[in-house]
Amino acid sequence: MNVSGPSRAVRAIAWLGVFVGVTVIMVGVRGRLDRVHVALAYLLVVQLTSAQAGRAVGMSLAVLSFLTFNIFFVPPYGTLAVANPVDWLVLVAFLVTSVISAQLLYRARALGAERERLSATSERAQSLEQSNRMKDETLAMVSHDLRTPLTTIKGLAHEIAAGGDERAEVIEEEADRLNAFVGKLLDLSRVTMGTGALDIQPNEAEDLLGAAAQQTQGFARGLAFHVEPSDSMLFGKFDFVQSLRVLVNLIDNAAKYSPPDAPIDVGARRVGNELRFWVADRGPGIADVDRERIFEPFYRKRVGDVDAAGAGLGLSIAKGIAEAQGGRLTFVPRDGGGSVFTLSVPAIDLPGDVASSVVGPAE
Protein backbone atom coordinates (compact mmCIF):
# COMPACT_ATOMS: atom_id res chain seq x y z
CA MET A 1 0.00 0.00 0.00
CA ASN A 2 2.96 2.31 -0.36
CA VAL A 3 2.37 5.23 -2.70
CA SER A 4 4.97 4.91 -5.40
CA GLY A 5 7.45 7.68 -6.30
CA PRO A 6 6.16 9.50 -9.42
CA SER A 7 2.45 9.28 -8.62
CA ARG A 8 3.22 10.46 -5.12
CA ALA A 9 4.97 13.60 -6.41
CA VAL A 10 2.12 14.24 -8.85
CA ARG A 11 -0.39 13.91 -6.05
CA ALA A 12 1.62 16.22 -3.79
CA ILE A 13 1.64 18.92 -6.49
CA ALA A 14 -2.09 18.42 -7.15
CA TRP A 15 -2.90 18.83 -3.45
CA LEU A 16 -0.67 21.87 -3.24
CA GLY A 17 -2.75 23.29 -6.11
CA VAL A 18 -5.95 22.52 -4.21
CA PHE A 19 -4.46 24.20 -1.14
CA VAL A 20 -3.55 27.35 -3.14
CA GLY A 21 -7.00 27.41 -4.77
CA VAL A 22 -8.79 27.09 -1.42
CA THR A 23 -6.58 29.83 0.03
CA VAL A 24 -7.27 32.20 -2.93
CA ILE A 25 -11.04 31.61 -2.71
CA MET A 26 -11.09 32.10 1.05
CA VAL A 27 -9.00 35.27 0.80
CA GLY A 28 -11.57 36.55 -1.77
CA VAL A 29 -14.46 36.10 0.65
CA ARG A 30 -12.42 36.79 3.76
CA GLY A 31 -14.90 39.37 5.05
CA ARG A 32 -17.69 36.83 5.35
CA LEU A 33 -15.59 34.01 6.89
CA ASP A 34 -15.19 33.11 10.53
CA ARG A 35 -11.77 31.76 11.52
CA VAL A 36 -13.45 28.44 12.32
CA HIS A 37 -14.43 28.10 8.64
CA VAL A 38 -10.85 28.70 7.60
CA ALA A 39 -9.51 26.24 10.14
CA LEU A 40 -12.01 23.54 9.06
CA ALA A 41 -11.31 24.08 5.35
CA TYR A 42 -7.55 23.81 5.87
CA LEU A 43 -7.94 20.82 8.16
CA LEU A 44 -9.91 19.02 5.48
CA VAL A 45 -7.26 19.77 2.83
CA VAL A 46 -4.43 18.65 5.17
CA GLN A 47 -6.20 15.39 5.97
CA LEU A 48 -7.05 14.57 2.39
CA THR A 49 -3.46 15.37 1.41
CA SER A 50 -2.11 13.06 4.12
CA ALA A 51 -4.39 10.33 2.91
CA GLN A 52 -3.54 10.76 -0.75
CA ALA A 53 0.08 11.93 -0.83
CA GLY A 54 1.51 10.55 2.39
CA ARG A 55 2.39 11.75 5.82
CA ALA A 56 5.37 13.97 4.92
CA VAL A 57 3.40 16.00 2.37
CA GLY A 58 0.45 16.21 4.77
CA MET A 59 2.64 17.52 7.58
CA SER A 60 4.32 20.06 5.30
CA LEU A 61 0.92 21.26 4.21
CA ALA A 62 -0.15 21.52 7.87
CA VAL A 63 2.77 23.84 8.56
CA LEU A 64 2.13 25.78 5.33
CA SER A 65 -1.54 26.23 6.16
CA PHE A 66 -0.59 27.33 9.66
CA LEU A 67 1.52 30.11 8.05
CA THR A 68 -1.08 31.14 5.46
CA PHE A 69 -3.78 31.04 8.16
CA ASN A 70 -1.67 33.43 10.16
CA ILE A 71 -0.73 35.70 7.21
CA PHE A 72 -4.07 35.92 5.40
CA PHE A 73 -6.76 35.29 7.99
CA VAL A 74 -5.42 36.57 11.31
CA PRO A 75 -5.21 40.36 11.62
CA PRO A 76 -3.10 42.23 10.89
CA TYR A 77 -3.29 40.63 7.37
CA GLY A 78 -0.16 40.20 5.25
CA THR A 79 2.20 39.63 8.20
CA LEU A 80 3.07 36.91 10.66
CA ALA A 81 2.28 39.29 13.45
CA VAL A 82 -0.74 38.50 15.58
CA ALA A 83 -2.67 41.39 17.07
CA ASN A 84 -4.96 39.49 19.39
CA PRO A 85 -3.11 37.02 21.71
CA VAL A 86 -6.22 34.79 21.67
CA ASP A 87 -5.56 34.24 17.95
CA TRP A 88 -2.26 32.56 18.84
CA LEU A 89 -4.29 30.00 20.68
CA VAL A 90 -6.46 29.46 17.58
CA LEU A 91 -3.40 29.12 15.35
CA VAL A 92 -1.52 26.74 17.64
CA ALA A 93 -4.67 24.68 18.22
CA PHE A 94 -5.08 24.49 14.43
CA LEU A 95 -1.45 23.41 13.91
CA VAL A 96 -1.62 20.75 16.62
CA THR A 97 -4.96 19.45 15.38
CA SER A 98 -3.87 19.23 11.78
CA VAL A 99 -0.55 17.54 12.61
CA ILE A 100 -2.18 15.06 14.97
CA SER A 101 -4.96 14.24 12.53
CA ALA A 102 -2.43 13.76 9.70
CA GLN A 103 -0.46 11.46 12.01
CA LEU A 104 -3.51 9.48 13.09
CA LEU A 105 -4.66 9.04 9.54
CA TYR A 106 -1.21 7.81 8.58
CA ARG A 107 -1.17 5.30 11.41
CA ALA A 108 -4.62 4.02 10.60
CA ARG A 109 -3.59 3.54 6.99
CA ALA A 110 -0.34 1.85 8.00
CA LEU A 111 -2.25 -0.52 10.26
CA GLY A 112 -4.65 -1.31 7.46
CA ALA A 113 -1.79 -1.95 5.09
CA GLU A 114 -0.05 -4.16 7.65
CA ARG A 115 -3.20 -6.15 8.22
CA GLU A 116 -3.54 -6.62 4.49
CA ARG A 117 0.09 -7.60 4.16
CA LEU A 118 -0.20 -10.04 7.06
CA SER A 119 -3.28 -11.63 5.67
CA ALA A 120 -1.53 -11.92 2.30
CA THR A 121 1.47 -13.55 4.01
CA SER A 122 -0.64 -15.94 6.03
CA GLU A 123 -2.63 -16.73 2.92
CA ARG A 124 0.61 -17.52 1.13
CA ALA A 125 1.86 -19.61 4.08
CA GLN A 126 -1.49 -21.32 4.22
CA SER A 127 -1.50 -22.06 0.53
CA LEU A 128 2.10 -23.34 0.77
CA GLU A 129 1.13 -25.54 3.67
CA GLN A 130 -1.90 -26.67 1.79
CA SER A 131 0.06 -27.50 -1.33
CA ASN A 132 2.62 -29.38 0.80
CA ARG A 133 -0.16 -31.31 2.43
CA MET A 134 -1.67 -32.01 -0.95
CA LYS A 135 1.69 -33.26 -2.21
CA ASP A 136 2.02 -35.52 0.83
CA GLU A 137 -1.49 -36.79 0.35
CA THR A 138 -0.88 -37.35 -3.34
CA LEU A 139 2.32 -39.27 -2.60
CA ALA A 140 0.49 -41.34 -0.01
CA MET A 141 -2.35 -41.98 -2.41
CA VAL A 142 -0.05 -42.91 -5.27
CA SER A 143 1.87 -45.23 -2.94
CA HIS A 144 -1.36 -46.82 -1.80
CA ASP A 145 -2.94 -47.10 -5.23
CA LEU A 146 0.14 -48.64 -6.78
CA ARG A 147 1.30 -50.78 -3.92
CA THR A 148 -1.99 -52.34 -2.95
CA PRO A 149 -2.49 -54.05 -6.33
CA LEU A 150 1.21 -54.96 -6.33
CA THR A 151 0.62 -56.73 -3.01
CA THR A 152 -2.17 -58.76 -4.55
CA ILE A 153 -0.10 -59.57 -7.65
CA LYS A 154 2.86 -60.64 -5.51
CA GLY A 155 0.73 -62.67 -3.14
CA LEU A 156 -1.14 -64.54 -5.87
CA ALA A 157 2.06 -65.09 -7.89
CA HIS A 158 3.59 -66.60 -4.77
CA GLU A 159 0.65 -69.00 -4.41
CA ILE A 160 0.89 -70.05 -8.05
CA ALA A 161 4.66 -70.46 -7.79
CA ALA A 162 4.13 -72.73 -4.78
CA GLY A 163 2.10 -74.92 -7.13
CA GLY A 164 5.21 -75.37 -9.27
CA ASP A 165 4.78 -72.83 -12.05
CA GLU A 166 8.13 -71.09 -12.47
CA ARG A 167 6.62 -68.30 -14.55
CA ALA A 168 4.85 -67.10 -11.42
CA GLU A 169 8.22 -66.53 -9.76
CA VAL A 170 9.08 -64.14 -12.56
CA ILE A 171 5.82 -62.29 -11.96
CA GLU A 172 6.70 -61.92 -8.30
CA GLU A 173 10.18 -60.65 -9.11
CA GLU A 174 8.83 -58.19 -11.63
CA ALA A 175 6.30 -56.93 -9.09
CA ASP A 176 9.25 -56.26 -6.77
CA ARG A 177 11.06 -54.40 -9.50
CA LEU A 178 8.04 -52.30 -10.25
CA ASN A 179 7.68 -51.52 -6.56
CA ALA A 180 11.35 -50.51 -6.33
CA PHE A 181 10.81 -48.21 -9.28
CA VAL A 182 7.71 -46.66 -7.70
CA GLY A 183 9.78 -46.06 -4.58
CA LYS A 184 12.56 -44.37 -6.54
CA LEU A 185 10.17 -42.09 -8.37
CA LEU A 186 8.49 -41.11 -5.13
CA ASP A 187 11.93 -40.40 -3.65
CA LEU A 188 12.95 -38.30 -6.61
CA SER A 189 9.79 -36.25 -6.44
CA ARG A 190 10.27 -35.79 -2.68
CA VAL A 191 13.86 -34.68 -3.10
CA THR A 192 13.19 -32.34 -6.01
CA MET A 193 10.11 -30.87 -4.38
CA GLY A 194 11.95 -30.45 -1.11
CA THR A 195 9.11 -31.99 0.86
CA GLY A 196 11.21 -34.85 2.19
CA ALA A 197 10.33 -33.83 5.74
CA LEU A 198 13.76 -34.82 6.98
CA ASP A 199 14.08 -35.96 10.57
CA ILE A 200 17.43 -34.45 11.51
CA GLN A 201 18.63 -35.62 14.93
CA PRO A 202 21.86 -36.20 16.78
CA ASN A 203 22.89 -39.67 15.61
CA GLU A 204 25.88 -41.88 16.25
CA ALA A 205 28.14 -43.19 13.49
CA GLU A 206 28.48 -46.81 14.66
CA ASP A 207 24.69 -47.10 14.86
CA LEU A 208 24.40 -46.09 11.20
CA LEU A 209 27.20 -48.43 10.10
CA GLY A 210 25.54 -51.29 12.01
CA ALA A 211 22.20 -50.65 10.32
CA ALA A 212 23.96 -50.51 6.93
CA ALA A 213 25.70 -53.81 7.70
CA GLN A 214 22.35 -55.37 8.50
CA GLN A 215 20.63 -54.10 5.37
CA THR A 216 23.42 -55.08 3.00
CA GLN A 217 24.19 -58.54 4.35
CA GLY A 218 22.00 -60.08 1.67
CA PHE A 219 23.84 -58.69 -1.32
CA ALA A 220 27.23 -57.36 -0.25
CA ARG A 221 29.79 -59.83 1.02
CA GLY A 222 33.26 -59.08 2.27
CA LEU A 223 32.36 -55.73 3.86
CA ALA A 224 34.89 -54.41 6.36
CA PHE A 225 33.81 -51.66 8.75
CA HIS A 226 36.13 -49.05 10.20
CA VAL A 227 35.37 -46.45 12.86
CA GLU A 228 38.35 -44.13 13.12
CA PRO A 229 39.75 -43.93 15.70
CA SER A 230 38.34 -47.28 16.72
CA ASP A 231 37.18 -46.39 20.26
CA SER A 232 35.74 -42.97 19.34
CA MET A 233 32.11 -42.00 19.65
CA LEU A 234 31.27 -39.97 16.55
CA PHE A 235 28.13 -37.87 16.50
CA GLY A 236 26.54 -35.98 13.64
CA LYS A 237 23.27 -34.21 12.98
CA PHE A 238 21.55 -36.08 10.20
CA ASP A 239 18.44 -37.97 9.17
CA PHE A 240 19.19 -41.56 10.15
CA VAL A 241 16.83 -43.25 7.70
CA GLN A 242 17.75 -41.16 4.67
CA SER A 243 21.49 -41.32 5.39
CA LEU A 244 21.18 -45.06 5.78
CA ARG A 245 19.58 -45.24 2.35
CA VAL A 246 22.44 -43.23 0.86
CA LEU A 247 25.02 -45.48 2.50
CA VAL A 248 23.22 -48.68 1.45
CA ASN A 249 22.96 -47.28 -2.08
CA LEU A 250 26.71 -46.60 -2.14
CA ILE A 251 27.49 -50.09 -0.82
CA ASP A 252 25.07 -51.57 -3.34
CA ASN A 253 26.84 -49.74 -6.18
CA ALA A 254 30.24 -50.78 -4.88
CA ALA A 255 29.11 -54.41 -4.76
CA LYS A 256 27.65 -54.25 -8.28
CA TYR A 257 30.72 -52.77 -9.89
CA SER A 258 33.39 -54.69 -7.99
CA PRO A 259 34.73 -58.13 -8.83
CA PRO A 260 32.84 -60.68 -6.70
CA ASP A 261 35.71 -61.38 -4.30
CA ALA A 262 37.03 -57.81 -3.99
CA PRO A 263 36.69 -56.35 -0.49
CA ILE A 264 34.56 -53.24 0.15
CA ASP A 265 35.62 -50.95 2.97
CA VAL A 266 33.08 -48.83 4.79
CA GLY A 267 33.99 -46.37 7.48
CA ALA A 268 33.30 -43.27 9.51
CA ARG A 269 35.64 -40.53 10.65
CA ARG A 270 35.49 -36.97 11.87
CA VAL A 271 37.15 -34.34 9.68
CA GLY A 272 36.85 -30.78 11.00
CA ASN A 273 33.17 -29.93 11.27
CA GLU A 274 32.13 -32.93 9.22
CA LEU A 275 31.28 -36.49 10.03
CA ARG A 276 32.24 -38.50 6.96
CA PHE A 277 30.92 -41.90 5.96
CA TRP A 278 32.94 -43.43 3.16
CA VAL A 279 32.56 -46.45 0.93
CA ALA A 280 35.68 -47.61 -0.91
CA ASP A 281 35.74 -50.34 -3.53
CA ARG A 282 38.27 -52.00 -5.83
CA GLY A 283 36.03 -51.77 -8.85
CA PRO A 284 36.97 -50.27 -12.24
CA GLY A 285 36.64 -46.68 -10.94
CA ILE A 286 35.01 -43.87 -12.85
CA ALA A 287 36.48 -42.26 -15.96
CA ASP A 288 37.36 -38.55 -15.72
CA VAL A 289 34.71 -37.57 -18.27
CA ASP A 290 31.98 -39.17 -16.18
CA ARG A 291 32.87 -37.71 -12.79
CA GLU A 292 30.49 -34.79 -12.97
CA ARG A 293 27.73 -36.67 -14.68
CA ILE A 294 27.38 -39.60 -12.28
CA PHE A 295 25.27 -37.46 -9.95
CA GLU A 296 22.80 -36.49 -12.67
CA PRO A 297 19.35 -38.12 -12.72
CA PHE A 298 18.96 -41.01 -15.15
CA TYR A 299 22.70 -41.18 -15.77
CA ARG A 300 24.01 -44.70 -16.25
CA LYS A 301 27.57 -45.78 -15.86
CA ARG A 302 27.39 -48.04 -18.85
CA VAL A 303 24.88 -47.65 -21.60
CA GLY A 304 22.68 -50.71 -21.90
CA ASP A 305 23.81 -52.12 -18.58
CA VAL A 306 20.26 -52.30 -17.31
CA ASP A 307 20.69 -54.94 -14.66
CA ALA A 308 23.62 -53.32 -12.95
CA ALA A 309 22.51 -49.71 -13.16
CA GLY A 310 18.80 -50.01 -12.45
CA ALA A 311 16.85 -46.87 -13.23
CA GLY A 312 19.92 -44.71 -12.77
CA LEU A 313 18.27 -42.63 -10.08
CA GLY A 314 20.43 -43.77 -7.19
CA LEU A 315 23.28 -41.27 -7.02
CA SER A 316 21.23 -38.21 -7.93
CA ILE A 317 18.75 -39.01 -5.16
CA ALA A 318 21.62 -39.76 -2.78
CA LYS A 319 23.19 -36.39 -3.57
CA GLY A 320 19.84 -34.64 -3.09
CA ILE A 321 19.39 -36.32 0.29
CA ALA A 322 22.95 -35.43 1.36
CA GLU A 323 22.48 -31.79 0.46
CA ALA A 324 18.99 -31.50 1.94
CA GLN A 325 20.47 -32.31 5.37
CA GLY A 326 23.29 -29.80 5.06
CA GLY A 327 25.85 -32.29 3.86
CA ARG A 328 27.37 -33.39 0.58
CA LEU A 329 28.15 -36.43 -1.48
CA THR A 330 31.53 -36.61 -3.19
CA PHE A 331 33.63 -38.95 -5.25
CA VAL A 332 37.39 -39.44 -5.43
CA PRO A 333 39.37 -42.18 -7.16
CA ARG A 334 40.84 -44.67 -4.70
CA ASP A 335 44.61 -45.03 -4.41
CA GLY A 336 45.56 -48.23 -6.14
CA GLY A 337 42.34 -48.40 -8.18
CA GLY A 338 38.64 -48.21 -7.46
CA SER A 339 36.30 -45.55 -6.14
CA VAL A 340 35.68 -43.79 -2.83
CA PHE A 341 32.26 -42.20 -2.31
CA THR A 342 31.86 -40.03 0.77
CA LEU A 343 28.71 -38.87 2.49
CA SER A 344 29.54 -35.88 4.70
CA VAL A 345 27.12 -34.58 7.30
CA PRO A 346 27.50 -31.85 9.97
CA ALA A 347 29.40 -33.25 12.97
CA ILE A 348 28.46 -32.42 16.55
CA ASP A 349 30.43 -32.68 19.77
CA LEU A 350 29.24 -34.78 22.63
CA PRO A 351 28.07 -32.58 25.53
CA GLY A 352 30.38 -32.98 28.53
CA ASP A 353 27.74 -34.34 30.91
CA VAL A 354 26.73 -36.99 28.37
CA ALA A 355 30.31 -38.06 27.81
CA SER A 356 31.05 -38.34 31.53
CA SER A 357 27.91 -40.37 32.19
CA VAL A 358 29.21 -43.14 30.00
CA VAL A 359 31.80 -45.59 31.16
CA GLY A 360 34.28 -46.37 28.42
CA PRO A 361 34.31 -49.57 26.40
CA ALA A 362 35.02 -52.74 28.30
CA GLU A 363 37.74 -54.12 26.08
Binding site: R147, T151, G155, A175, D199, N203, E204, L350, V358, A362
Partner: protein, 236 residues
Amino acid sequence: MNPSSSTDDVVLVIDDEPQIRRVVRNAMEADIARVIEASTGRAGIDVAAAERPSLIILDLGLPDMEGAEVCRAVRSWSAVPIIVLSARGSVQEKAALLDAGADDYIAKPFSTIELQARVRAQLRRAKLAPAAGQTHVIEADGALIDLATPGVKRDGVAIHLTKTEWQLLRTLMQNAGRTMTHRQLFSAVWGNAYGDAQQYLRVHIRSIRRKIERDPVRPRLIVTEPGVGYRFQMEP
Protein backbone atom coordinates in the same frame (compact mmCIF):
# COMPACT_ATOMS: atom_id res chain seq x y z
CA MET B 1 -10.47 -72.61 5.51
CA ASN B 2 -7.79 -75.22 5.81
CA PRO B 3 -8.98 -78.09 7.98
CA SER B 4 -5.44 -79.47 8.23
CA SER B 5 -4.25 -76.34 10.03
CA SER B 6 -2.17 -77.68 12.88
CA THR B 7 -2.85 -74.82 15.26
CA ASP B 8 -5.92 -73.45 16.92
CA ASP B 9 -4.73 -69.88 16.47
CA VAL B 10 -7.18 -67.43 14.95
CA VAL B 11 -6.01 -64.40 12.99
CA LEU B 12 -8.33 -61.46 12.41
CA VAL B 13 -7.68 -59.59 9.16
CA ILE B 14 -9.04 -56.04 9.06
CA ASP B 15 -8.86 -54.74 5.48
CA ASP B 16 -11.32 -53.08 3.12
CA GLU B 17 -9.71 -54.65 0.03
CA PRO B 18 -11.09 -58.15 -0.60
CA GLN B 19 -8.04 -59.07 -2.70
CA ILE B 20 -5.63 -58.30 0.14
CA ARG B 21 -7.81 -60.24 2.58
CA ARG B 22 -7.64 -63.15 0.19
CA VAL B 23 -3.84 -63.03 -0.07
CA VAL B 24 -3.47 -62.80 3.70
CA ARG B 25 -5.99 -65.60 4.27
CA ASN B 26 -4.18 -67.91 1.88
CA ALA B 27 -0.85 -67.10 3.52
CA MET B 28 -2.25 -67.80 7.00
CA GLU B 29 -4.18 -70.93 6.19
CA ALA B 30 -1.01 -72.55 4.94
CA ASP B 31 -0.49 -74.08 8.36
CA ILE B 32 -0.41 -71.00 10.56
CA ALA B 33 -3.89 -70.04 11.67
CA ARG B 34 -7.59 -69.93 10.93
CA VAL B 35 -8.69 -66.56 9.54
CA ILE B 36 -11.65 -64.34 10.32
CA GLU B 37 -12.22 -61.08 8.46
CA ALA B 38 -13.56 -57.56 8.87
CA SER B 39 -13.72 -54.84 6.23
CA THR B 40 -13.91 -51.71 8.40
CA GLY B 41 -12.14 -50.50 11.52
CA ARG B 42 -15.38 -50.40 13.50
CA ALA B 43 -16.32 -53.95 12.51
CA GLY B 44 -12.77 -55.05 13.24
CA ILE B 45 -12.91 -53.74 16.79
CA ASP B 46 -16.25 -55.46 17.35
CA VAL B 47 -15.06 -58.78 15.95
CA ALA B 48 -11.86 -58.55 18.01
CA ALA B 49 -13.93 -58.06 21.15
CA ALA B 50 -16.35 -60.88 20.33
CA GLU B 51 -13.94 -63.48 18.94
CA ARG B 52 -10.76 -62.76 20.92
CA PRO B 53 -8.36 -63.66 18.06
CA SER B 54 -4.75 -64.71 18.74
CA LEU B 55 -3.45 -61.97 16.44
CA ILE B 56 -4.76 -59.04 14.38
CA ILE B 57 -3.51 -58.01 10.94
CA LEU B 58 -4.62 -54.43 10.44
CA ASP B 59 -4.44 -52.67 7.10
CA LEU B 60 -4.12 -48.89 7.17
CA GLY B 61 -6.15 -46.77 4.81
CA LEU B 62 -9.45 -48.13 6.07
CA PRO B 63 -12.38 -46.04 4.94
CA ASP B 64 -13.80 -45.35 8.40
CA MET B 65 -10.96 -45.04 10.92
CA GLU B 66 -7.28 -44.19 11.35
CA GLY B 67 -5.08 -47.21 11.99
CA ALA B 68 -3.70 -45.75 15.22
CA GLU B 69 -7.26 -45.31 16.49
CA VAL B 70 -8.02 -48.98 15.91
CA CYS B 71 -4.77 -49.94 17.70
CA ARG B 72 -5.57 -47.81 20.72
CA ALA B 73 -9.15 -49.06 20.89
CA VAL B 74 -8.06 -52.71 20.86
CA ARG B 75 -5.11 -52.04 23.18
CA SER B 76 -7.43 -50.51 25.77
CA TRP B 77 -8.71 -53.97 26.70
CA SER B 78 -6.44 -56.50 25.01
CA ALA B 79 -2.77 -57.43 24.68
CA VAL B 80 -3.39 -59.31 21.41
CA PRO B 81 -0.47 -58.85 18.97
CA ILE B 82 -1.28 -56.37 16.20
CA ILE B 83 0.61 -56.36 12.89
CA VAL B 84 -0.01 -53.31 10.74
CA LEU B 85 0.12 -53.33 6.93
CA SER B 86 0.84 -50.03 5.21
CA ALA B 87 1.56 -48.91 1.66
CA ARG B 88 3.20 -45.76 2.84
CA GLY B 89 6.14 -47.26 4.63
CA SER B 90 7.28 -44.06 6.35
CA VAL B 91 9.17 -44.41 9.61
CA GLN B 92 7.13 -41.62 11.20
CA GLU B 93 3.96 -43.60 10.57
CA LYS B 94 5.60 -46.75 11.85
CA ALA B 95 6.79 -45.13 15.08
CA ALA B 96 3.38 -43.55 15.66
CA LEU B 97 1.65 -46.92 15.25
CA LEU B 98 4.08 -48.70 17.55
CA ASP B 99 3.53 -45.93 20.10
CA ALA B 100 -0.22 -46.51 19.68
CA GLY B 101 0.26 -50.14 20.65
CA ALA B 102 0.95 -52.02 17.40
CA ASP B 103 3.53 -54.80 17.71
CA ASP B 104 4.91 -54.91 14.20
CA TYR B 105 4.64 -53.12 10.90
CA ILE B 106 4.95 -54.48 7.36
CA ALA B 107 5.25 -52.33 4.26
CA LYS B 108 3.19 -53.22 1.20
CA PRO B 109 3.88 -54.98 -1.06
CA PHE B 110 5.09 -57.63 1.36
CA SER B 111 6.23 -61.12 0.50
CA THR B 112 4.09 -64.00 1.70
CA ILE B 113 7.11 -65.58 3.36
CA GLU B 114 7.87 -62.39 5.27
CA LEU B 115 4.27 -62.04 6.44
CA GLN B 116 4.22 -65.64 7.59
CA ALA B 117 7.50 -65.22 9.48
CA ARG B 118 6.32 -62.06 11.23
CA VAL B 119 3.02 -63.62 12.22
CA ARG B 120 4.75 -66.73 13.58
CA ALA B 121 7.18 -64.56 15.56
CA GLN B 122 4.36 -62.55 17.12
CA LEU B 123 2.30 -65.63 17.98
CA ARG B 124 5.33 -67.22 19.61
CA ARG B 125 6.13 -64.06 21.52
CA ALA B 126 2.55 -63.76 22.75
CA LYS B 127 2.69 -67.30 24.10
CA LEU B 128 5.99 -66.68 25.84
CA ALA B 129 4.92 -63.30 27.22
CA PRO B 130 3.31 -64.52 30.46
CA ALA B 131 6.47 -66.51 31.23
CA ALA B 132 8.78 -63.64 30.30
CA GLY B 133 8.14 -61.95 33.62
CA GLN B 134 9.73 -64.91 35.41
CA THR B 135 12.56 -65.39 32.94
CA HIS B 136 15.52 -63.43 34.13
CA VAL B 137 18.28 -65.13 32.23
CA ILE B 138 18.89 -64.86 28.52
CA GLU B 139 21.80 -66.50 26.79
CA ALA B 140 22.37 -65.34 23.27
CA ASP B 141 25.32 -65.00 20.91
CA GLY B 142 27.90 -65.71 23.60
CA ALA B 143 26.38 -63.25 26.07
CA LEU B 144 24.76 -64.39 29.32
CA ILE B 145 22.45 -61.76 30.75
CA ASP B 146 20.86 -62.27 34.17
CA LEU B 147 18.37 -59.58 35.09
CA ALA B 148 17.89 -60.93 38.64
CA THR B 149 21.48 -60.85 39.89
CA PRO B 150 21.93 -58.58 37.86
CA GLY B 151 24.98 -59.43 35.79
CA VAL B 152 26.30 -59.82 32.28
CA LYS B 153 28.97 -62.17 31.06
CA ARG B 154 30.46 -62.19 27.61
CA ASP B 155 32.23 -65.47 26.86
CA GLY B 156 32.44 -66.17 30.58
CA VAL B 157 33.93 -62.79 31.51
CA ALA B 158 31.88 -60.52 33.80
CA ILE B 159 31.06 -57.11 32.36
CA HIS B 160 30.19 -53.97 34.28
CA LEU B 161 27.10 -52.02 33.22
CA THR B 162 26.08 -48.65 34.64
CA LYS B 163 22.68 -48.18 36.26
CA THR B 164 21.28 -46.46 33.19
CA GLU B 165 22.62 -49.16 30.91
CA TRP B 166 20.93 -51.80 33.06
CA GLN B 167 17.60 -50.02 32.91
CA LEU B 168 17.85 -49.70 29.15
CA LEU B 169 18.89 -53.32 28.66
CA ARG B 170 16.15 -54.53 31.02
CA THR B 171 13.49 -52.58 29.12
CA LEU B 172 14.68 -54.01 25.82
CA MET B 173 14.89 -57.57 27.17
CA GLN B 174 11.48 -57.48 28.81
CA ASN B 175 10.13 -56.61 25.37
CA ALA B 176 12.41 -59.01 23.50
CA GLY B 177 11.40 -59.45 19.89
CA ARG B 178 9.40 -56.27 19.88
CA THR B 179 10.65 -52.98 18.45
CA MET B 180 10.68 -50.37 21.20
CA THR B 181 10.36 -46.83 19.83
CA HIS B 182 12.81 -44.13 20.90
CA ARG B 183 9.97 -42.53 22.81
CA GLN B 184 9.05 -45.73 24.65
CA LEU B 185 12.65 -46.44 25.61
CA PHE B 186 13.26 -42.93 26.73
CA SER B 187 10.22 -42.71 28.94
CA ALA B 188 10.93 -46.16 30.41
CA VAL B 189 14.51 -45.31 31.37
CA TRP B 190 14.58 -41.58 32.03
CA GLY B 191 10.95 -40.62 32.48
CA ASN B 192 9.69 -37.90 30.23
CA ALA B 193 11.36 -34.79 31.57
CA TYR B 194 14.93 -34.98 30.41
CA GLY B 195 17.29 -33.10 28.11
CA ASP B 196 18.45 -34.17 24.69
CA ALA B 197 16.53 -37.43 24.43
CA GLN B 198 17.88 -38.65 21.11
CA GLN B 199 21.49 -38.14 21.95
CA TYR B 200 21.37 -39.72 25.42
CA LEU B 201 19.70 -42.79 24.01
CA ARG B 202 22.26 -43.12 21.19
CA VAL B 203 25.15 -42.75 23.59
CA HIS B 204 23.90 -45.45 25.94
CA ILE B 205 22.92 -47.87 23.20
CA ARG B 206 26.37 -47.59 21.72
CA SER B 207 27.93 -48.04 25.13
CA ILE B 208 25.92 -51.22 25.86
CA ARG B 209 26.73 -52.62 22.44
CA ARG B 210 30.43 -52.03 22.96
CA LYS B 211 30.15 -54.10 26.13
CA ILE B 212 27.85 -56.98 25.23
CA GLU B 213 28.05 -57.37 21.45
CA ARG B 214 30.72 -59.56 19.91
CA ASP B 215 31.10 -56.99 17.11
CA PRO B 216 29.43 -53.66 18.00
CA VAL B 217 29.41 -52.57 14.33
CA ARG B 218 27.43 -55.69 13.50
CA PRO B 219 25.13 -55.92 16.52
CA ARG B 220 23.22 -59.17 16.92
CA LEU B 221 21.53 -58.62 20.27
CA ILE B 222 20.37 -55.00 20.14
CA VAL B 223 19.22 -54.36 16.60
CA THR B 224 18.53 -50.92 15.16
CA GLU B 225 15.14 -50.35 13.60
CA PRO B 226 16.11 -47.31 11.50
CA GLY B 227 14.25 -44.16 12.45
CA VAL B 228 11.95 -46.05 14.80
CA GLY B 229 13.82 -47.56 17.72
CA TYR B 230 15.70 -50.65 18.92
CA ARG B 231 14.82 -54.29 19.34
CA PHE B 232 16.33 -57.01 21.51
CA GLN B 233 16.72 -59.99 19.22
CA MET B 234 15.44 -63.24 20.70
CA GLU B 235 17.16 -65.57 18.24
CA PRO B 236 20.28 -63.91 16.84
